[in-house]
């Protein structure tokens, strides 16, 4: 049975089973390869997407449970090529390294900033506790967020 999903404002149909992890549907079927399956165990955050504005790990979420919710991926942040303010400060602060964690990191931060527009340093750190980055050592990413 086909799954009806709303991805980045668009209605899409998936031929996958309801138990397929959402990250695989997004990547393999919809070619939205921003979300990265880095651990597939819910620990690294690289696959984070927003489900009705809440950050979720798409590697653990069966696609069937996303039916009826608004799914947003990193690809939605700069729809016409204009970077979102969050993406812009990341570029300006030259914080991107290998870049693999950023799609997840940006979605966690987008969800967080929507409800906490003026965060403290500690709050940003707490918001990132589910997103591992192996390259950057975090602090300069946090500086970038606080410059918003």
């Amino acid at each position: 049975m086909a799954l009806l999903l709303t991805v980045n404002g668009e209605d899409r149909t998936s031929g996958h089973g309801a138990m397929t992890p959402l990250v695989d549907v997004l990547r393999d079927e919809f070619h939205l390869k921003g979300a990265k399956p880095v651990c597939r165990e819910g620990f690294c955050g690289a696959c984070t997407v927003l489900l009705d504005d809440h950050p979720v790990m798409a590697c653990l979420l069966p696609a069937g449970l996303a039916v009826g919710a608004r799914i947003r991926t990193v690809e939605s942040l700069a729809p016409d090529g204009a970077l979102s303010p969050l993406q812009q400060v990341m570029e300006e602060h030259d914080v991107v390294q290998c870049g693999m964690c950023f799609p997840g990191m940006l979605m966690s931060l987008s969800g967080f900033l929507a409800v906490t527009p003026r965060p403290t340093r500690d709050e940003v750190k707490a918001a990132l506790s589910g997103n591992v980055c192996r390259c950057t050592g975090y602090e300069r990413i946090i500086d970038a967020v606080l410059s918003l």
Binding site: C39, R40, V74, M100, C101, L128, G137, E139
Partner: protein, 799 residues
Amino acid sequence: MAEVTLNFPRRDARDKLRGRTRYTIDRDVSGVLHAALLRAPVPSARILRIDTAAARAMPGVRAVVTAEHAPGRHGIGIADHPLFAAGRVRYHGEPMAAVAADTLAQAQAAAAAIVVELEPLPAVITMAEALGPSASLVHPDWRDYEVLVEGGAHGGNVAWEATVLRGDPEAAFARADVTVVESLFRVGRQNHLSFEPRAAIAAFEDGRCHIETSTQAPWTVRNVTAHLLDVLPSAVRVTVPAVGGGFGLKFDCALEPYAALLARHAEAPVRLVNSRQEEMLTCLSRENAEIRIRSAVTKDGEIAGREAVVLMDCGAYGGEQIFLTTMTAHTLGGNYKLGSVRLASRAVYTNTAPNGAFRACNGTYNTFALERHTDEICEAIGMDPLEFRRRNVLGDGNLGATGQIFEGDVLGPMLDRMAGLRAARPSKQAQAGDRLYGRATTVGTWFVFVGPSAATVNLNADGSATLVTSGVEIGSGSMMQGLPQIVAHTLGLKPQDVVVRAADTDAGGYDVGVGGGRTTVSLGAASMAAASEVRRKLLDVASGMLQTPPEGLTLANGRVEIAGRPGTGASIAEVAVQAQKLVGPIAGSGSFTGPGVAAMPGCAAGHFIDALDIPVFAVHECEVAVDPDTGHVEVLSYAVVQDVGRALNPRAIYGQIQGGVTQGLGYALHEEISIGADGSIRQSGFETYRVPLAQDVVPVEISLFEGAPSIGPLGTKGAGEVPILNVAAAIACAVANATGRRVQELPLTPPRVLELLLGRGLPLDFPHIATAWDDNLLRPLAAASWQGRRMAGPDAPGP
């Protein structure tokens, strides 16, 4: 010449931030088959039978291959490593067969259906077992292996032994006026945990194999894959998309030959990607090591003699550890002036997963050992550790362990710079509250791994330039920032007008690989040479156009001008168009390799590098608070003074330092790999292998030390590798300072720190390291007059 554009923004950031970058794991290839490896479930066994008939008959299966399809061996120094376990399993997780099928599930099911009959053999899991009197041999046939580099001593389970002897340490230790201090250290492995796993896609096109892969060393992949497939190296083409982190893990050939072999047998493209579990269990980790170090020191703190034995676990195959035995001389034998020294560095085979290269490699733990040992010396002779370092650090004209003469006073002024930082900011001691407070300042010596690089620059008629190399962007930004800056600087262009071709062994010339801080230096020097040739040709043509000799012309802002008469010249695009008409398109090529700095003849035996072409120094300082109830260590502050030669992109270097220090904090405090009695690595993912999270980290205070001598282009040195070098040293010395205990092991997890505080740990004891230094050697030193001679092997060694 034109000014260098500093802090040039990296051009790959935008797509990475938009989720549009296609790493190897993201590539779609039509008709691609999916592959799985069958891995050994035991650490040591004889293979009695492998039957693939049932697997071949399963749905979707297109190819099944085993050792019989690729019988060759590769390696660094010694060709000891077969593609598949052949006759014998040497580590838990070793590939025994590979399957390609229409889907990954089918490939995995077929791999599981391969019938393997194994007869268990005794295994050596630890180095103590491997060097024990009745140890079973990991490679009983080692005498039959091809030796690729002469000079190392081999024997028993010792894959490679390198030694250094300078001066008369025997006499130094016998002096009446010295205090002898001895220290023992042990460290575990560290997993890179790069976000992108090792991954490769192979396909045959026009009779040649094309491999797209996540690697740092495309030419090593080309050469090793060709060797194992028994084809000419020129029959393999390697291209490299954006790489999702490497840190040294991808400095060696890995999955590529399996994918290529399967593609050849299936006659279809094949994709092979390690799962996170496979990455954990078979990671080419930073090796575990055991160290004994002794020094003879006068009451004034002069180090009259030093000796050490370093055991490095290479796992079941020699790999990088064979090369890295070299780096003991330059790290443990670095930092300080030594009256005399002898060092033995041994790579030891065990029945465990092979280890590899990881950012600053054995420099991290050798620096940990050296700096902790230094603090133990200070305690023994009653000297302030900072004072001891000020007196003893290497300066201009001093000798290194192998007798190389160091140029310039670098570490001394860097210590002064750190003292300035310390004076300028208040101590964080108050934040420790009731906890134990400690601080430490450590020094470190590392190097830029130079070696061969090639570059071509094409000047285009639109005034842009294309830079073609085999360099890979692994995240550090060197390919995206440093290289275009260097070419632009030489040609008077803007860096954004320099297009950098992604690595392709069909387009760029030979390169050792991206690692060891060599990108900006080696690839940079080759790129600068190529651009200089373009510059010459460009000025020649412009000279005719402007009726002015080339010496009277300047290049800047995309224009050629007559010196002193701005606005009278022509745009570089106009000159390029004119050149196409007159002499044909302008191109230049350049190459570079290490110039080779001299060591003292006869000092070093079995070394791949006798002396450092470009030494790099670092000074780190930190404050910690240790909770006496839980053993938890909190880092209160961290400061780095790093020798960068010249900083082209200070912001990017700050990013490398913050990131490198963070990886070092993980290594020092909580990244722990343990190996079970069955020889398997116990940590299988992010849950059990604890890397630093945002809340574990502090902002690193950074001061870039510029101006130290460097042969790098524009005076640069590699800046990405070194930041991790003395983190473990600084943390361990600070924890020792806080607790008053002898810190001898890493990582300093809360249970280990509690053990220290409660005095419950057993003292370290290494029965497999002989007390008399000479008794450790396979090859008595008198016979060790060895002339370093490197022969071309398929693998290029390096960090």
